[in-house]
Symmetry: C2
Subunit: 149 residues, 2 copies
């Protein structure tokens, strides 16, 4: 399979997902391929450089569509605006810097079903585990924390 450039890859993803292929969606996917863990506003700013007419609200719509289609993953760390990333399969979680808000991926140490030895809690059926680690990123460890969180 030859994919010549980023946009072609994005278009292919959209087609696979059965989504209509629009400029906005292609550019949003392109942006997320370049920068990860960014919020809707940041996505919008990047999109605006290539598609100046696309509003923040449209970016929200698009991100919502892409998330539903499973092309994009939405992370919602407590107290922060939602962040988006292109998902690369699953079973990775995130660590967020309590000082500057930087985010990094974390492959869960335990494996495919983290913290889930029993499959059932209080009669609940467990479907997903959302795991967010909080700590200090390397930069903030040196500078001393300012705790945004």
């Amino acid at each position: 399979m030859f994919v010549v450039n980023r946009s072609e890859a994005s278009k292919a993803l959209l087609r696979q997902a059965g989504l209509r292929l629009t400029p906005g969606r292609v550019v949003v996917l392109d942006v997320l391929a370049e920068v990860s863990h960014i919020d809707a506003l940041t996505v919008s700013e990047h999109v605006a450089q290539r598609l100046p007419t696309t509003s923040l609200q449209s970016v929200h719509n698009i991100l919502s569509d892409l998330t539903q289609a499973g092309l994009v993953h939405k992370i919602e760390p407590a107290g922060m605006p939602a962040l988006y990333e292109r998902r690369v399969g699953d079973n990775h979680h995130h660590i967020v810097c309590t000082s500057c808000g930087a985010v990094a991926d974390v492959d869960c140490a335990v494996g495919s079903a983290p913290c889930l030895t029993p499959n059932d809690f209080h009669g609940f059926t467990v479907q997903v585990a959302d795991i967010v680690f909080w700590g200090l990123c390397p930069d903030c460890q040196q500078l001393g924390p300012t705790n945004i969180h």
Copy 2:
């Protein structure tokens, strides 16, 4: 140690935490001792039954103070208003019903540092792990899900 009633226990907690003892704070703690995993609005409604002059904003202030003092724990499941509970020590997480929003406590199966075999990810220093499980509560398993999430 004789604690005659709920309010006395709440007052004792406030004193221990070095917080000023006000009616609002006592009642909020009382409410949280009775009902757990409720949002600020629900707390406010319960408080209003005993202290009608206390506004929602004041409840927010109070919850924020109590959270900072460590008397109360704030849970922020993705896409829901923040929930509060009186903390009973730590190391328990939560499972939220994707259909009706019900919340239950989960003692993490792995122990004190769930999913944390290494203590360091990408140079980050890990301080806390926020873990939220999503699934269906017993009621919604029978009724069929309506997925709020």
